[in-house]
């Protein structure tokens, strides 16, 4: 191991970090499993509390909004369920990302590990949590008999884009929040705002003529590439292009940041 401040070879070390972190995927998997288990230690339902509370929320919200917005339930509830579940994954991931490195301080300052491990840990922890809510989507499809058909497979590339963005976000936010402790609350506020301005609980159609501008909302694009196929409303090519573009920008920014500041993380946490 050679570290030379005059010739830091940052790009190579960042790539090595990513590669070694990915190669040792067992570690983040084990850590994420322990995280989930510890969070629900001694609870009877465990993580299924999330499923239950989400289900209750949906029934209540579905009834409320279909009365309020005068939408018929079979048309509205599948949309709401898929949107909310995706949004929750999004919001929880972003919130968790902000503390991903700060929370691992004890490990970071004691042993040299690829930082990718901490990001993957956060990603996997959230993926497991998200998986507990997926059955609800199936239940809703079953109840309202709204199976999306073969087109739903298009949600898979959507999920790949979604995951790539999540990984980049965890990497980037983990670092920025470790350095500037005010970013965490700011991100929380932004996410809250984004929830209201993005079509999560309201359908995009409500915008009528203004709908074309929605593609400028990155949250909409990333959500739509997964949601659209599942709801039998294939997203337009423009949305796909936008989602790919956003992913590229996100990953590039995160990578550049990671390359530049990887060596400083141990001093920040």
């Amino acid at each position: 191991m050679i570290s030379d401040s005059a010739n830091p070879r940052r790009v190579r070390r960042a790539l090595e970090d990513l590669e070694l972190g990915a190669r040792r995927w067992r570690l983040p998997v084990a850590l994420a499993r322990l995280d989930i288990r510890n969070r629900y230690r001694g609870s009877v339902l465990g993580p299924f509390w999330m499923t239950l509370s989400t289900a209750i929320t949906f029934v209540a919200l579905g009834l409320l909004y279909s009365t309020l917005f005068k939408m018929n339930l079979p048309e509205y509830l599948p949309f709401l369920v898929v949107s909310m579940i995706l949004w929750n994954v999004f919001a929880q991931m972003v919130g968790d990302a902000c503390t991903s490195l700060i929370a691992a301080e004890g490990i970071i300052r004691q042993m040299p590990l690829p930082y990718t491990v901490h990001a993957l840990r956060c990603l996997m922890r959230n993926a497991v949590v998200a998986a507990h809510n997926l059955p609800l989507i199936l239940v809703v499809f079953l109840v309202f008999n709204s199976w999306p058909g073969i087109g739903a497979l298009l949600a898979l590339p959507g999920m790949v884009l979604f995951t790539l963005n999540a990984f980049a976000a965890v990497m980037f936010l983990g670092m920025v929040c470790a350095r500037f402790r005010d970013i965490g609350p700011i991100v929380g506020t932004v996410m809250q705002l984004a929830f209201f301005v993005s079509p999560v609980i309201w359908k995009p159609e409500l915008l009528h003529d203004q709908q074309k501008w929605l593609v400028l909302n990155p949250f909409y694009d990333l959500m739509e590439v997964v949601r659209g196929p599942l709801l039998n409303m294939p997203p337009s090519l423009l949305v796909w292009v936008a989602a790919v573009l956003i992913t590229t920008v996100n990953c590039s920014v995160a990578f550049v940041f990671f390359v530049r500041f990887r060596g400083r993380i141990a001093f920040w946490v």
Partner: protein, 243 residues
């Protein structure tokens, strides 16, 4: 050949989350030795200042000096936790560090799970980790407590577990901070023996210690740090003569 080479190695900790502004005012008032402002106008603690040394295979080096002299920071830097802020560090050889034995332990997981977790931290596969669990279980003598969350362990039991887990390795470069204590008499004797084995098998030992007795017994060379600088480097007898 395992070796450690440091050339003008410096580590500085920026003070991010303290009132840097008022601190800066005070800094300007009286010129301190280790707190200074760097080129970006941040207040930093100079933890290690332009260290030059070369440790060759076969050497047993003690890091001595007062609290806050930079011993543990130097160990962590050699372990790869901190990247040099200035200068160059080259560590060749498989590194094993006994800096904080309980780092990465999960209090809610059982002893066995923690052992396997530690195996994963070191990059072992499932089979190697399982073997390690058997060996650690035998050495620590925890018996049935191995399957109980370590949150419920007594202080002595925790030490037994973390010691057994931490020392189960065969590094070429052994970095060690001073933490020899606890455990009952029987365990202490075994622990001592395990440590001595580990030290003998390692090609290089770097030990940070306050105990001159241990330093004289185990080491051949001593580096004396003060305020983040090396003030003496040489045979143990000479460096520790007046300590």
């Amino acid at each position: 050949m395992p070796h450690i080479l440091a050339e003008r190695l410096s580590i500085a900790f920026p003070l991010y989350h303290v009132g840097a502004r008022s601190l800066k005012k005070r800094l300007l008032a009286n010129s301190p030795l280790r707190l200074r402002t760097d080129e970006n106008d941040r207040v930093v603690v100079a933890a290690l200042n332009e260290l030059d040394f070369n440790i060759r295979s076969g050497e047993r080096v003690a890091l001595v000096g007062q609290n806050g002299a930079g011993k543990t920071t130097l160990l962590r830097t050699m372990a790869g936790v901190y990247e040099p802020v200035a200068g160059r560090l080259e560590v060749v050889g498989r590194i094993g560090s006994l800096i904080d034995p309980s780092a990465g332990m999960d209090p809610d997981a059982t002893g066995r799970e923690n052992i396997i977790l530690r195996g994963l931290f070191r990059g072992m596969d499932d089979k190697q980790s399982a073997e390690m669990a058997v060996e650690v279980g035998a050495f620590s003598g925890l018996g049935e407590f191995l399957d109980v969350p370590i949150r419920t362990y007594s202080a002595g039991m925790s030490v037994r577990l973390s010691f057994a887990v931490a020392t189960l390795m065969q590094p070429e470069v052994l970095l060690m901070d001073e933490w020899f204590s606890a455990g009952d008499a029987d365990f202490m004797a075994r622990a001592q023996q395990r440590l001595e084995e580990l030290v003998q098998k390692a090609e290089i030992l770097v030990l940070a210690s306050h105990s001159m007795e241990i330093v004289r017994a185990w080491c051949t060379r001593a580096i004396r740090l003060q305020g983040g600088r090396i003030i003496d480097d040489g045979p143990v007898e000479r460096v520790t003569a007046n300590m």
